[in-house]
Symmetry: C2
Subunit: 262 residues, 2 copies
């Protein structure tokens, strides 16, 4: 039976911007020592002391980066944080804070936005990252999320794209293509559903692939592994566009060539 989602629907207009921000940020508890001041002033205040500060930002737009017909909002919030933290870990750093800006059209209810934030808060908790600021506004169409992630690292620990040397080994973490296969399955099932809305997809056998698409994890474990093994790679890059594209970035910046084996 399809759930009636209209029962618990609060219009965002009833709350206003400040009411919404209050609702979405009341659960925040700062856990990082470097978070001096979080949400609630003109700017957040951080203190990374003797470490250098890492800053990275990603923009996710409905209809371009995600499809809400099969992406639950809570998963979307989680994933939006992951793609940003991933860039900090790809510098061999520790992610410490994020800011979250969001624009929503009037088709979204308070409950929908709270689902989105539940995913963001869950990601922050799992990765010990503080949500310290953001901006909330209306959009003329759809949902968009802009997250900036901030991290820290000792200057000598940071790994750039430009350090690869001749005879270095090029390695990847995780399964390349799994998230893409997950997306293909979800898009196929969406087409089936559009033809026959009574069909129930059986996705059990694809659980792994779909999880890679809907709930990816950033590889904080790799940064810890390097530390434990006392290994510092010569170069690192976050894969977002695919192996070929990222390999070229490393090669160009490091002024080396490469050979890839399947």
């Amino acid at each position: 039976m399809l759930e009636n989602k209209e029962i618990n629907r609060t219009n965002l207009a009833e709350l206003g911007e400040f009411g919404l921000i209050k609702r979405l940020t009341k659960a925040i508890k700062l856990v990082q020592k470097s978070s001096v001041k979080g949400v609630g002033d003109d700017a957040a205040v951080l203190n990374h002391k003797d470490n250098q500060t890492l800053v990275t930002t990603d923009l996710l737009i409905e209809g371009i980066h995600f499809d809400l017909s099969f992406m639950p909002l809570k998963h979307l919030g989680y994933k939006a944080v992951m793609v940003n933290l991933s860039d900090v870990y790809a510098m061999n750093g520790k992610a410490t804070q994020i800011t979250v800006s969001m624009a929503v059209s009037n088709r979204f209810s308070l409950e929908a936005i709270e689902d989105l934030y539940a995913g963001i808060h869950l990601a922050c908790k799992a990765y010990q990252v503080d949500l310290v600021g953001g901006d909330t506004t209306s959009s003329t169409k759809g949902l968009l999320i802009s997250i900036t992630a901030i991290g820290e690292a000792k200057a000598e620990d940071i790994v750039y794209r430009n350090g690869a040397k001749t005879n270095d080994l090029l390695v990847v973490t995780g399964d390349l293509g799994a998230a893409y296969l997950g997306l293909q399955i979800l898009e196929r099932e969406k087409q089936v559903f559009e033809v026959n809305p009574n069909s129930q997809p059986d996705l059990d056998q694809y659980a792994y692939l779909i999880e890679r698409q809907l709930k990816p994890e950033a590889r904080r474990d790799i940064v810890k592994l390097f530390k434990d093994l006392k290994v510092k790679p010569t170069a690192m890059i976050d894969i977002s566009d695919g192996l070929a594209s990222e390999t070229i970035h490393i090669c160009q910046q490091s002024k080396v060539g490469c050979r890839l084996y399947e």
Copy 2:
């Protein structure tokens, strides 16, 4: 005579994302000592040493925050930077870096986006701020800009919203309402133009008001003034929603009341 703007029109699709980023960032020269690494890696690297780091972010959306029928793209780029720097100055800090994320629909040409960036670069140059990162993507509708500004200040110099005391004097910088009047004039002239496209607006007498709307300046001079006068205010806030709204923020956070005189 109306200019034929189609003559120099390059489709963004011809360049691709990396080509576009290269075009838009080639002019960047880092001027802040704290900018260790700018555009070109997974994250920017900053070093604020003994200072604390300030982070603030604002999202500007076409049709909500700006109307391109009377807002030139270069002015928009400049203003988008100003509204962010303003938050850093409202903490009594020094703005040092920004990241710029942008989504554009296919109705924008390369030349249009270069105009937007010309305004962003001009603002960076005028305020000695480094553009150190961002994200560029396509949108399904219109233009949106998400900027994160980063600044620094000694811990003891930072001014929060919550320090106001009984008998403090509440003062404002600049003319409240001038930008709003400028907007009203521009919207009126837009309506006239829509009825009669041959009419040429005579805006000379409104130059001051229109400049407040189209090319506002962030009040870096006030931070310098306080420093020169060895004055540290008990509380400060950036006015974005209006005097009443911001006064309430200061009062609530500082646990004081206030009297306003016109």
